[in-house]
Symmetry: C2
Subunit: 178 residues, 2 copies
DNA sequence: ACCCTTAGGTCTGGTGAATGAACCTTCGTC
DNA sequence: GACGAAGGTTCATTCACCAGACCTAAGGGT
């Protein structure tokens, strides 16, 4: 959100968080990172975001400690963007917001469903597994799959094509899944 | 966030949610509504937001079903803005995002702490009460108080002044607390 | 009658950020 | 030595945000 120029005024942890992940596209980039997207061009094609904006957001997220750059080849140097530990802790807020959007802002329900990989149970509204008990399931133990009630369509980029079948979160996807 | 013009592209509940509460200021307005802020001028003074932007955001949140207008006097007609049921369900995402901001984006820790009104226990990282067990505590049962470790300061609007002492969420605050 | 205040806005001009398209660089391959 | 992939940068245009002035409708004081 980068609320204008100075924002020290808001003495609030929420405002601080929004300065990091509240800007246009930022949270969608983080979501894609949970889906396993790592490369610039995959983010670009899946989000349909202008290149200059993607560059700016990725750099901001790296500077904020949400993502880190990890080289995957030399000559020419290429790197992917991966979630840091702080980034991984965004799973809770992100899942809950997504859940809210599925209930209150998506007429026909969500496009994707999330389940505990160990037992196959769908996550509840705080992201916990009803069957296994305990607290919220960490993202590494979550599988996403398309909602069969939604006839998926029209998107045609490598990431969207990969996501038509069940996919564990954080597992590299699209170009990086070589 | 209102991601530009057309955004039907993103077949994702998160994108839908961000269209509603992802724009600049929107989530801070919702946060203030949880704090008990109801009136236009109180939002204005507490957030330091331009009047025209506040008007636009409040109308958008009402249109999205997050807030509703409730008259509190006739002649001249005046109304406050209150959370709807859908708005109240934003407590989970909002609390978790705030919590994340307190841990990863606020150098000296959060300015406000949140506890279960029934037993005084601070909420855990998903917003549940460790003592009473069960799921997340609904906002109506939460009390906020300033963090004693933070020497609060400089803000001087009616809402900030009211929040220096413990305050139950959703209870009318500032001008509306007559 | 006159002026001031409160509450909740609208209007306007200037500025900064987002957008889409084109271009650039470094390498590997045919 | 042409071509393409990957990951950017540069550019002109559009759009949203910003601060501040102005507007309306009612009540209160003198």
């Amino acid at each position: 959100m980068a609320l204008g120029t100075d924002y020290e005024l808001q003495e609030c942890a929420l405002a601080r968080a929004l300065e990091v992940v509240g800007e246009r596209w930022s949270l969608l980039i983080v979501r894609d990172a949970f889906y396993g997207v790592q490369r610039f061009n995959d983010f670009l094609a899946h989000l349909g975001i202008p290149r200059a904006v993607l560059t700016a957001r990725l750099n901001a997220l790296v500077a904020a400690g949400v993502l880190r750059k990890e080289p995957y080849q030399q000559a020419p140097l290429r790197h992917g963007y991966l979630l840091t530990d702080a980034g991984l802790e965004l799973w809770g807020p992100l899942y809950q917001l997504s859940r809210w959007g599925g209930r209150h802002a998506t007429p026909d329900g969500p496009h994707h469903l999330f389940a505990h990989v160990a037992c196959g149970t769908d996550l509840d509204f705080v992201g916990a597994c009803h069957t296994c008990g305990g607290g919220p399931v960490p993202p590494a133990e979550v599988v996403m799959r398309p909602n069969p009630a939604r006839a998926d369509g029209h998107r045609d980029d490598p990431v969207s094509r990969a996501l038509v079948r069940p996919h564990p979160l954080l597992e590299p996807i699209a170009s990086a899944a070589a």
